[in-house]
Each structure stands twice: as C-alpha cells, then as structure tokens.
C-alpha cells in the first residue's frame, strides 16, 4: 500500500475544494484510520489559507505545491510555496488556550492545530521557497 499524489494550485481560496477531494480519495484508497482524513484536510487548509492570505497577501497570481506520500506506516506531506518566509515552528506564537471567553485572542489557533495533530514538522527555506515537511503516522489515528 503506497501512493503519491501531487497538486499544484494557484494561490486562491477557492482551490480548497481540490485539496479536500484529493485527500478524500487518497485516504480512502490507502485505508487511513478514522479521523485521519479530517485531520489531513484541516492541516492542508490551515497551511494553504496561510500561504494564500499571509504568504502572498492575497495575490492570486502565484502557485504552491502539495505532495502527499502515503505508505503502510505514514503519510508524508510536503508543502512548497514562494511566499514570504514563514516557519510555522518558530514564527507562530503559542496560542492562549486557557483564559476565559473575554480574554481569548481571536485567531492564532490554525498553526497550533497543525502542530498538535501531526507527528513531525520540519521547515527549510530554499531557493526563495518555504518548504514544510510533515509526517503523520497512521498508528496515531
């Protein structure tokens, strides 16, 4: 059981549908455990929206790439974009998840969800591209 799927997408929010469809299809054919399809969609949406709205500040005339590599043990995701440098491991503050309703900052949760749901994240900046590699092991659901 192993399959690779690549997507090259314009930096527009209306492309999310294509990501969801690709994840549905890959998750089904690779028999991912329950819950993993949702988590992978969420991770790609959070990071994709980030690339579109922050990395490229809404400029729709760029492209970013997603490569999904699913095998018997794990899914490896590579995201590659040419937006402004952004390392989700260091450039995103820890969100406040404990304070009361009034004091909760609005937003900042997306990257936190990504870091919590996935097993490994590594970032590098190469040839003016952000390259983020993510591993999700199947055993962790």
């Amino acid at each position: 059981m192993s399959r690779r799927l690549s997507l090259s997408l314009p930096t527009k929010l209306d492309q999310l549908e294509r990501i969801y469809e690709a994840v549905d299809e890959l998750g089904e054919s690779e028999e991912w455990p329950p819950g993993m399809v949702y988590q992978v969609k969420l991770v790609l949406e959070e990071l994709g929206v980030n690339i579109v709205t922050h990395g490229h500040a809404g400029d729709p005339d760029h492209e970013f790439e997603i490569v999904l590599d699913s095998d018997a043990d794990a899914l490896t995701i590579e995201l590659r974009d040419e937006g402004r440098p952004f390392n989700p491991l260091t450039d995103s503050p820890e969100p406040d998840i404990d304070s009361g309703l009034d004091d909760r900052p609005v937003g900042g949760l997306g990257i936190y969800l990504v870091r919590t749901m996935m097993d490994e994240l590594s970032y590098r900046r190469e040839d003016n591209h952000n390259i983020l590699t993510i591993v999700k092991r199947k055993e962790n659901g």
Binding site: L13, D14, L16, Y20, P34, G35, Y38, Q39, K41, L42, E45, E46, G48, V49, T53, P95, I97, D98, G100, L101, D102, R104, V106, G107, L109, G110, Y112, L113, T116, M117
Partner: protein, 112 residues
Amino acid sequence: MEISVDRANEVLIAKVEGRIDGANAREFEDALNGAIGEDDSKVLLDFSTLSYISSAGLRVILLIARLLQKRNAAFALCSLSDPIREVFEISGFDKIISIHDSQAEAVDKIGS
C-alpha cells in the same frame, strides 16, 4: 454550508450543514448574525450535520459567544462528531463554551 433555524422552549436552534472553512467563514458569520434576533436570549448551534470546521470557523464561534455573553444570553453547541470535538478540545474551546451530546439535552439545559 447552510443554516436552518428553528425555535423550541425559547431556544433559537441553528442547525449548520456542510463545511465551515477559510473560504466561507465570513459567510457563516453573516448568516449566524442574521439568524440570531435581538430578542433571542438562548442560542444553540446544532452541529449534527456539520462535516468540517477549522480555525476560521472557531474564530466565528468565539466572536458569537462573546457577543451573546455581553447580552447575557445563553449559548451552547450540541452533537459534535468525534473529529470536530477534537478540534474544540485541542483549542480549549470546550472550557469556555458549553457542549452537549444531543439537541434534546442542550435544550433541556438552557431552555425555559
């Protein structure tokens, strides 16, 4: 994403169907603000037919919860699927928003 509205025991029940993501969160916010009347003092979001929510949707939930708290209105969620509940738990939203297993339980808790 679609919202259908119902009222039971003075509770406004907004049932959300489909997906709330970065592309339609603004639309969700507008629809919810439109559905909640100024006189509504008890609001329940029924997520039994919601298939997906991400941080963009959480942001809207937080804003609505805050708005209703300012008006001293009750606010609750019900019928979250397991992956959606996980998103709320990781974000710590389960500590600031009341979440119920079923619509009946929620209406019983916050209704008159």
